[in-house]
């Protein structure tokens, strides 16, 4: 069995482990509900003023709305428990006493979580498409759905890898999730503050915040590709989170790499602790 096959086994294991958790299912239901609710409101007669442009691009609004909060939360939920729950439950020994390197285990865990996130994103994307077609009629630019899907998964990597790192460092799932969410909230607030401040310094600093790249990348990519140019959500977010697609992509890559490497160094150098919860 080669290294890739071992990683594959851990990916499969992580997938099975995460799906067995009720809290994840609850968050997924919440994320879908979060998408359904605004669609239902916007479909009411009081919003009949919505122009054709807006109505025909509601799929993108649904997809990006989910990405901006709930999918991030689910990412933090998956990543926060990925490493730490194995220590808490004492199951880390079962796998790490087998012929597998720590690197293979860590990569398998990381990729397994991303695979699961992709599954979550498939559900929220399909929900957005079904709702927008069902409520607002024919949608346009749906050929960009796969591109936007990949862009969203990529943008989620910042907080996913940050919380994954916390999961290994803190070895407590709740603490890791709180830490990840704390950084998310602080960064979000600082970003909003920067958006309303004048001066280049604030603008530059805002772009280094983890939330900027995570939010700006898919929005800015949608704007670059001229996807649903009439989408009010894209237009609104482009105003609030102005930015450059390549810069956002690069910042996401750097953050992800740093957080993953820190998690790896910590994992490779430290003991596998026994049951902690």
């Amino acid at each position: 069995m080669n290294a890739l096959q071992r990683i594959g086994v851990i990916v499969w294991y992580e997938w099975k482990r995460a799906l067995a958790k009720k809290s994840l299912i609850a968050l997924l239901i919440l994320a879908v509900s979060f998408e359904v609710f605004p669609f239902m409101i916007l479909s009411g007669s009081s919003f009949s003023f919505m122009g054709t442009n807006i109505r025909e691009t509601m799929w993108l609004t649904g997809v990006l709305a989910g990405q901006s909060l709930f999918v991030q939360l689910i990412a933090m939920q998956i990543a926060g428990s990925s490493m730490s729950e194995e220590y808490e439950q004492g199951t880390a020994d079962v796998l790490l006493s087998k012929p597998i390197t720590r690197g293979q285990y860590l990569i398998g865990k990381f990729l397994g979580g991303i695979l699961l996130l992709s599954f979550v994103e498939v559900i929220t994307t399909v929900t957005a498409l079904v709702l927008s077609y069902g409520i607002f009629g024919t949608q346009r630019d749906i050929q960009f759905v796969p591109v936007m899907f990949v862009a969203i998964i990529y943008s989620i990597l910042v907080f996913y890898s940050l919380t994954f790192m916390f999961s290994e460092f803190l070895r407590r799932s709740n603490l890791a999730m709180f830490a990840g969410f704390g950084v998310f909230m602080v960064s979000q607030i600082a970003g909003i503050f920067s958006a309303f401040s004048t001066g280049q310094l604030y603008g530059g600093m805002a772009q280094l915040l983890p939330t900027w790249s995570a939010t700006a990348f898919p929005v800015s990519l949608a704007a670059d590709l001229n996807v649903s140019s009439g989408s009010f959500f894209v237009s609104a977010l482009t105003l609030v989170v102005p930015g450059d697609t390549r810069l956002a992509a690069a910042i996401i890559a750097v953050y992800t790499l740093i957080f993953f490497l820190l998690a790896y160094v910590r994992f490779a150098k430290s003991d596998v602790t026994k049951k902690t919860a």
Partner: protein
């Protein structure tokens, strides 16, 4: 050490492990040869589990080295652990899997084909007495069943080296006897079995070699008979008489092979200088002096005697 030690399968050299100021292991060294059933003894907190976890690469030592078949598991866990099966003390298994799924997962990690995994899963569930529970979630298993399944996971790849940390804890007497025989059989098949246990009787029955650790230091290590000899100095014959007389006691004390005689009512504890069964000679001497014997037992030294003596700092 005998000739098998020239090619140890598990080699532990000067292993040291610190937790802050606490020294969990202090230059621990021993070797386990091919085909040995090695009992690793020690009181709670002595360092047994720490040693095992370092052997498996789960803990990083502060000093020293471990080799399994010449490979350091910390540097190359894939090659080193490919030949090892491990059952931890009070195992926690993934409760969302069924027994069959967990064994299948273990088989995948060891690189077994689907056919091999299917065959191995069925065989092992039968072996550990869980044939009716294979398709049930582990969350529904009792502690004893989890322990059995844990032993099964250790055997998935038919490993050359088995490392068991208190493997029979939580098992009922029937299962304990079954697994005790199984481990002894595996040793006879040429597998190396390393067992950490508190059950001295169990260790004496199935192990060929023992090592004892206390406060992070190895107190003794070697073939079980040598260890008992080294840490116990005498055999005792216990005699019960209808009536004990001065004459009988003096006569027994006068025998060359008797070191001492203690009298307790109508019972005598005759401490021998040699480790031989000399009950015939003793009974003859008692009869010669008109004594009536009600009972005569030889109390040989056991591993427990050696263990307790070693803990108190005795021995050679």
């Amino acid at each position: 050490m005998d000739d098998l030690a020239s090619e140890p399968v598990i080699m532990v050299s000067n292993l040291t492990k610190l937790y802050g100021d606490f020294t969990a292991l202090d230059s621990v060294s021993f070797g386990v040869g091919k085909g040995w059933v090695y009992g690793y003894l020690g009181p709670n907190g002595a360092g047994k589990t720490t040693t095992i976890r370092i052997i498996l690469g789960l803990l990083k030592p502060n000093g020293g080295e471990v080799q399994i078949a010449g490979i350091n598991p910390s540097n190359d866990p894939v090659r080193a652990l490919q030949i090892v099966g491990y059952a931890p003390e009070l195992p926690t298994l993934q409760t969302f899997f069924t027994g069959e799924q967990l064994l299948d997962l273990m088989g995948k990690i060891y690189g077994l084909s689907m056919q091999e995994r299917t065959a191995s899963t069925k065989k092992l569930l039968d072996l550990v007495g869980l044939q009716d529970w294979g398709d049930k979630k582990i969350g529904k298993y009792s502690k004893g069943m989890i322990q059995r399944l844990s032993v099964a996971t250790a055997l998935v790849s038919d490993p050359l080296v088995l490392i068991m940390d208190e493997p029979t804890i939580g098992m009922d007497p029937e299962a304990t006897a079954h697994f005790r025989n199984l481990f002894a059989e595996l040793g006879k098949e040429g597998k190396t079995v390393f067992i950490s246990s508190h059950l001295l009787d169990e260790v004496q029955r199935i192990c060929t070699h023992v090592g004892m650790i206390n406060k992070g230091r190895i107190l003794f290590d070697g073939p079980i008979s040598q260890v008992i000899d080294a840490f116990t100095q005498e055999w005792i014959v216990e005699a019960e008489l209808e009536k004990v007389t001065e004459d009988i006691v003096s006569a027994l004390k006068g025998l060359d092979f008797v070191e001492n005689v203690n009298v307790d009512g109508n019972k005598l504890a005759i401490k021998l200088k040699e480790k031989k069964d000399l009950r015939g000679e003793i009974s003859s001497e008692i009869f010669k002096h008109k004594g009536t014997l009600l009972g005569l037992n030889l109390h040989k030294a056991t591993l427990e005697d050696a263990y307790l003596r070693a803990l108190r700092g005795g021995g050679e």
